[in-house]
């Protein structure tokens, strides 16, 4: 069965520091991968998605970036964090198969607090 991991689970960082959040998926090949941010425990904002290694689509211009160095690894980064980057970051995966809906499955999330 497929599993998705995110780490760290929680992170407290000062303003202006760099960021690296990691997401890995097990039990599947060539997944679509997504990064979402959830602010104030409510709506989800899609940040990036990737359909393959090195292929990243950005949904919202900001000081964050994403990379996919391996098939099942997705990394969210920032060179300098802002206070507004605080939130709950969720990684998700899906696999497109004929007749399927490309259902997304989410990881446990990373709680980021920028002070």
């Amino acid at each position: 069965s497929q599993t998705i991991h995110q780490w760290p689970a929680t992170l407290v960082q000062p303003v202006g520091s760099p960021l690296s959040l990691e997401c890995t998926v097990e039990g599947t090949s060539n997944p679509n991968l997504y990064w979402y941010r959830q602010a104030a425990g409510r709506g989800l904002q899609l940040l990036f998605y990737s359909v393959g290694i090195g292929q990243i689509s950005s949904e919202v211009p900001q000081n964050l970036s994403a990379s996919r160095p391996q098939d099942r690894q997705f990394i969210l980064s920032s060179k300098k964090l802002l206070l507004s980057d605080s939130g709950f970051y969720l990684c998700a995966w899906s696999v497109w198969t004929s007749g399927d809906t490309d259902t997304q499955y989410f990881g446990p999330g990373t709680r980021l607090t920028v002070l």
């Binding site: 425990g41 709506g43 998605y49 809906t101 989410f106």
Partner: protein, 115 residues
């Protein structure tokens, strides 16, 4: 553009009573519709989805949802609520005609089931 509206921030229901969490959507083409549930400080869990066919979709934990094309709605229902159903519920849509893989989420509805 695709969008989702969850008109109720919170729904309160007594244990054992039926529950409904409302969702309406807007897409230019045909929708794929999803419901997810989120418990505190956790990732989203997939509940059910509508692709095509029968308008009544059954999912996990006794939940079901009814697709109504004329009203562009996809309300989540359960015949008898449990206290353990208390959580944050998200409706999401994908327009299958755009080719865009990412989901658009509603703002979420908090379900509170009283004992």
């Amino acid at each position: 553009a695709q969008s989702v509206a969850q008109p109720e921030d919170q729904v309160n229901v007594a244990e054992g009573n039926p529950l409904t969490v409302k969702c309406t959507y807007s897409v230019s083409g045909n929708p794929y519709l999803f419901w997810y549930v989120q418990y505190p400080n956790r990732g989203l869990q997939f509940l059910l989805k509508y692709i095509t066919g029968d308008n009544l979709v059954k999912g996990s934990y006794g939940f079901e949802a009814e697709f109504n094309k004329s009203q562009t709605s996809f309300h989540l229902k359960k015949p008898s609520a449990l206290v353990s159903d208390s959580a944050l519920y998200f409706c999401a849509v994908r327009d299958i005609n755009t080719g865009r893989r990412a989901l658009t989420f509603g703002s979420g509805t908090r379900l509170q089931v009283q004992p």
